[in-house]
Structure formats: structure tokens, C-alpha cells
Symmetry: C2
Subunit: 323 residues, 2 copies
């Protein structure tokens, strides 16, 4: 990470944007129109902070930038605003868009940092998100055609399927797909064959096993409860290579999420998230006959910029708000 | 554990029966007609053997009994016959009953111990069991009315729903309900509220939360994937006590197993297993309108006795087989 050249020829910095989750802290220096001027990344998620805690992590990751622009406003989204975070930013009720989020920022670091709240959908089947709301704001800013009405899928530890209407998050569902895969791989008997194999499957056998898992889930209309154990029994009966068994499990779990999500004829418009994970989901969606889903990556900095604009934080007009 | 009185007035010992699983070793001294004369229990499951391994565990748990009857035959079922066990007893193909199992015993301890094989149902959705086959043989011996045609449910780490026809295991399905509960409780975010609470819920709030979980699963026709996270979101929105959240999760998972198992109008005849767990399942079945399911406990020693009889191991006629 070289020190950014903040000489006369560089565009002016307008905002520091932090994507601050459970396991990572990603920082962006944004200029006019939210252009990314520089980035930093640390493993300082809220569960693994450096000595000195949140303030030290904040100073450490933004210090170089703020040396050149001491009054630069900063905004963060993600678990940093949870009850286990720096300052709790209470959930906004759905429906919520950039205006509602901007109107409910919490502040930390003596007012030098603003924190975006998560969103709660209360009711019979309550759901919460924290961090994804900002990615969605970013996605809608980048793709205004999605704002009027769309279904967005954000794969991850806790995947979200989010219905958008009139530019706001209207309703959403959570699938614990990524966390289920992590705990079953590491702590259950389903991970034992792959752990014992101690090597990765070939790309071809990984792809085949993943596809088999997706297809098995596709035909399990009542859910995968009676199917989960097949990630072991197929190996025991010589029908699946031990080393590929976790790829099969990944296919089962992602396939189950997609089968549930598509119930009732829903069709997602776009995937938002990590490129490799989105590609995996694209493959799985294809096996359900849902092709050509677009992918939006790096939506967080655009979302943070957009929310900051709504809060009149970024740019020359922001000095008063920060002082 | 007092030394059994093997004096002139005690009935003669016929067989040592071992229920030897992953985490426990239960030993039974059986007399005429399989009557239990004495029992031993050690934490010497195949994953936590004493120094000296399998032979030491076998000698340790049966030593007192064999001192009085050195030629006493012994038979074991469970994971002791798996690839990670003492001697692998390859799976019998379904359909399989006591005759098929008795015809495929493996032997260990220089021929002093016979090991019951598991059962495999091969085909599109393969399934395996090891230990449950012996409990089923025991249940059918105790309840001959179940032999012609019945559906048996054995709740546990890997629950089995077993179709019986003509006295044999015909087909079966595995639900990883117990293991899912264990890994989600201990390793996922769903366990965090209860872990932090550090105390048990009151019996009443536990019962209520369990019932809510079962009822939520009952109405989730496509499976619980979109519902699992409610074990957290209901707490975050103040609708579920943190301390009772794992009872709710237990209800969700058991409810999902039952909803899947009842698909197509199937109706179980009996539960086989641990009394407390069977009672939990009875409650859940009741919420699905399936009442008055009977419970069979301690089926393993009867099953081991029955299989040993088929193999001509037990009783006075067994000496030749053991010599």
C-alpha cells in the first residue's frame, strides 16, 4: 500500500467510506461523484480488532488520508453498527431507502464517523440486515433500472433475497447458506471425507459434484432435510469422490436456497457480492433455467457515497456537519 | 456397579451383548430368553477409547462376567463395526432382517466377539445405518405386530425413518436432525444468544418455544431454509426470549424432519430410542395431528440376543461356535 500522491494534480478527496463487517475492514477514499481514489484493507473485522479496539482500527486505516485532509468526513456500514459494534445504529424499518438510512445515521469517533443503520422487516417472519442495505443502495445507484421494482440476491454467510420497490428495500428473506456450509464442513461428519483427503478436487470434478448437488436439491420439493446425509452416503457407496463431497454439499445448500427463493414464480434480476460466489450462484441458477442474471460487485463504496450525499456529508458542504 | 452375584441361585449367563457406538459403550449380560442379568456402561465410544484401544475396552467392560464364564459368547452392534471401528463388518444390502444380519457377522478379539453389520440401501438416494438395524430387530422381537408392515422412527444424531416389510428393513431415510442441532447450537450464530444467557429456560418457556418452532416448520411446505434465521431474528425483534432460542431451533429442526417424513401420507407406528428424545418427538408429532405413537426403549439388547440366536451363538449350543 503506497502512500497516495495527494499533490496538486490529484482530484480532491471528499469522503472516507468504510465497509466494516465481522471479519474485515475495507476502506475507500472517495473523490468527486464517489470515484475511488485509494483503498485500504485490514483483517480488523469487529470480531478481531487490533489493540486499542475500534478507535485504533479507525485511526489506523484512515490516518494517512486524514493527515492530508483532517476534516474529511467518514461513513461506515456493516456490523460496526450492531450491538456488538462500535456504536449501535438501530435498525430502520422496511421499507427503507437511501433517504431513510441517511436520516438515521449514528455517530462515533467524536462525530468524525457516521454509521449506517441496518434494516428490519418486522412481522410474522422478522428479518434483519446490516451492511447489505448499503450494497443495495449502491446497486440501485449504479443500475437505476432496478429501482422501480426488482428482486436482488446477495449471496453470502447469510444470503439475502431482497424485494425492491420505488427505490426502497420493501421486504427480504434470509438464507443461512454460507454459515450452514461453514459449520457442516468444519464441525459435522459431512466434512470428514474432504478433511481427510487433505487436498482440493480437480476443477472438473468440483464442477461436476457441485452440479449434482444443485440438481438433487432442485428435485427435492419438500426441502433437503432427507437429502443432506447423501453428501456422506454417496461417498460410502462409491458414487461420489471423497475429495469432491464438499462441492456436492455446496451444490445441495445453494440449490435449496434457490429452489425456495424461486417459489411462486419469483425471478431475480441481479446478484450482488463477491465475484467468485456470484459466479457459483449463476451456475446454480442456470441449472434452474434462470439464465443471464447480471452481477454487481463492489457496491458498498457507491452505496456509502450515495447515503453520505443524502446526509449532506460529502463534499465541500460537509465541513459544517463535521466540525 | 456391584459385582453380580453369580452363585447357585442366579440364572445362567448366555451372552454378552454390546451396544458400542461413537460416544458410549453399553454392555449387557443376558440370560435365558435374553433376560438382562447385569449391565455396564463406559464412555468408551469408538472415538474415545481407553489406553489399549478396542481390546482393552472389551476386556475392561466384560472382564468380571467372563471370569465366571470364560467361554461366554459376545456380540456387538454399532460403530464398532465401521471402517473406523475395531473390525469392519461390511453393510448388508436392504432388505435385511435378523437372518441376513446373523449371516454376515464379522469377528474380533480372536473370535470371542462377533460384530453385527450395518445395512445399506443402495440406489439413487443411498442410505446407510449401523446400530439402528439391531434396535429394529429388537423392536420387532418385542412387538411382533410391527413385523409385517410398519414405519419406525429412530430419532437421534442421524434420525432414521425405516420402512419394515415381512420382518425385514426394506427402505429408510436419514435426517441429520440431531447433528444439525448440535453444530448450529455450538458453532453458528444461532447458538450465541443461548450461550450468552448461560442458563436454561424454565420448563414452560422451553416447551412454548419448542412448540412454536414445530408449528413454524409445519407450515413451511418448501423446507426451513428461509426460516432457520428466525431463531435469531425473533430474538432481535423481541419476540423470543434469548434463553429459549435453542428450544425454538430444536422445534424447527424436528418439525422439518417430521413434515418431510409425513409427506405422501406416511404414518409412523412407533418411536425407538432414548425416552426423553422420544417424548420430544411425540410432542412434535402431536402438533402434526399424529397422536398416540408408541415408544420402544432399550431395544438393542433384545436385538443383539435375537441376532445371536439366529447365528446359534447364545446358549448352551454356542460353545462349539466359540471354541
Amino acid at each position: 500500500m503506497s502512500e497516495p500522491d495527494r499533490g496538486v494534480d490529484t482530484p480532491p478527496a471528499r469522503l472516507i467510506a468504510l465497509d466494516w463487517g465481522t471479519s474485515a475492514l475495507r476502506a475507500y477514499l472517495l473523490g468527486d461523484d464517489g470515484a475511488v481514489l485509494d483503498t485500504r484493507s485490514e483483517a480488523w473485522g469487529i470480531m478481531q480488532l487490533p489493540s486499542g479496539g475500534f478507535p485504533a482500527a479507525f485511526e489506523g486505516v484512515t490516518d494517512e488520508w486524514r493527515r492530508f485532509a483532517p476534516g474529511l468526513p467518514a461513513i461506515a456500514s456493516g456490523m460496526v453498527g450492531s450491538a456488538q459494534g462500535w456504536v449501535e445504529a438501530p435498525y430502520c424499518n422496511a421499507p427503507a431507502g437511501s433517504a431513510e438510512l441517511a436520516g438515521a445515521l449514528a455517530s462515533a469517533a467524536d462525530g468524525r464517523l457516521f454509521i449506517v443503520p441496518g434494516v428490519v422487516q418486522d412481522g410474522g417472519a422478522p428479518n434483519v440486515m446490516r451492511g447489505e442495505e448499503t450494497q443495495i443502495v449502491g446497486a440501485l445507484a449504479a443500475r437505476p433500472d432496478l429501482a422501480e421494482r426488482s428482486l436482488l440476491v446477495l449471496p453470502g454467510t447469510h444470503s439475502k433475497w431482497v424485494g425492491v420497490a420505488d427505490g426502497r428495500i420493501r421486504d427480504f428473506t434470509t438464507y443461512m447458506t454460507g454459515e450452514l456450509f461453514a459449520v457442516l464442513s468444519s464441525a459435522s461428519i459431512l466434512g470428514r471425507f474432504a478433511r481427510d483427503a487433505g487436498r482440493d478436487p480437480t476443477p472438473e470434478s468440483a464442477r461436476d459434484a457441485f452440479r449434482r448437488g444443485v440438481l438433487a436439491s432442485r428435485s427435492a420439493q419438500g426441502g433437503i432435510a432427507p437429502l443432506l446425509f447423501s453428501a456422506r452416503s454417496l461417498v460410502l457407496t462409491g458414487r461420489l469422490a471423497p475429495v469432491a463431497s464438499l462441492e456436492y454439499l455446496s451444490g445441495l445448500l445453494i440449490g435449496d436456497e434457490i429452489r425456495c427463493g424461486l417459489t411462486g414464480g419469483a425471478r431475480p434480476d441481479t446478484l450482488i457480492g463477491d465475484p467468485a460466489l456470484c459466479e457459483r450462484y449463476q451456475t446454480a441458477f442456470g441449472l434452474f433455467g434462470v439464465d443471464a442474471i447480471s452481477v454487481i460487485t463492489d457496491a458498498a463504496p457507491v452505496g456509502l457515497w450515495t447515503i453520505a450525499q443524502h446526509a449532506s456529508l460529502a463534499g465541500p458542504t460537509s465541513a459544517a456537519a463535521i466540525a
